[in-house]
Symmetry: C2
Subunit: 203 residues, 2 copies
Amino acid sequence: MEKKIITISRQFGSGGRTVGRMVASKLGIPFYDKDLVNQIALESGFAPKFVEENGEQAPGLSRLSYAFAPQGVPGVMNGLSTADFLWNIQCGVILQLAEKGPCVIVGRNADYILKDREDTLNVFIYADKDFRAERIVRLYGESEKSPEARLNEKDKRRRVNYQHYTGRTWGMAENYDASLNTSVLGVENCADLIIKMVEDSKE
Amino acid sequence: MEKKIITISRQFGSGGRTVGRMVASKLGIPFYDKDLVNQIALESGFAPKFVEENGEQAPGLSRLSYAFAPQGVPGVMNGLSTADFLWNIQCGVILQLAEKGPCVIVGRNADYILKDREDTLNVFIYADKDFRAERIVRLYGESEKSPEARLNEKDKRRRVNYQHYTGRTWGMAENYDASLNTSVLGVENCADLIIKMVEDSKE
């Protein structure tokens, strides 16, 4: 079965977004990450920054409040929590994007949302903690918290969010078609490995 | 860091052994699987068939008994359980094999045993349950138990053994440098992906 949609789930700081962008660029297909977030935001009426910060949180960890919701939204939300409301919108947007044609989608549990499409290749990108710590300081700068604390916090958010919405354990190989460690294999090499998987699927 | 030793951990019926044999053959390096078991057996004095059946069991699940041990072994074992005694011998054999030069080692928790060697590439091979069920019936024939029951039993043994001796959770992507699903990617394609990883590591 030819793989046309590539989803990338990634640990914070692993270079997963970069891998996804490289794959999309080399294959000449659309790449959805922040653009996706913005589209979700436009549909929901939430501010893009708000969606970006809260779109990968599970309700339990969330500091969401109706106070941040756009005017009129509480009525539209039909009694759903803000997180569940966002989740529903994300599902709809991701299903529509996949319908439009070949693409790379990073994050947002797209692997799970598209689980009924056999033309989807689901990849998990991760890396050793030292590599990720060095990378987040280089790319996003220093902060009050140590790089390790920032990694632990983000990892926990994604783990809880994934578990909550998919019922699966975050980081288990079986959730994906392939898992690749960028700190061992190299970021660009991982992109090339994914491209080989896509090419092989055409045979 | 150039990867010279390739370890393959695999789900029963996933084709992991075949992938390992293909990688070794294409790279022209030794392949250790049953040969390894036999060597362990010779060193321990246990019968090869006995080692093969019990080498991937954890003590709790094991039906091992000193009654099966070769003459004189209980004294040599220094109070270790038979399973722990086998584990110690396995560690020694695998460390020696890796010292001898490039090779592919399938199973026996070699990924963990060689964790201090940076020239080791650790790969996890798995597959969807239907693919594995069809494969074990084709390769190993029917048995009294259903294919699903045989898979569940073997999976449980490997999971418990791995957890017991490594303290890690079996099947987590982070335990390995790469994880590949043969039922999605294809057995021979997985071998080629591993060869690409080895080639890339020389750059």
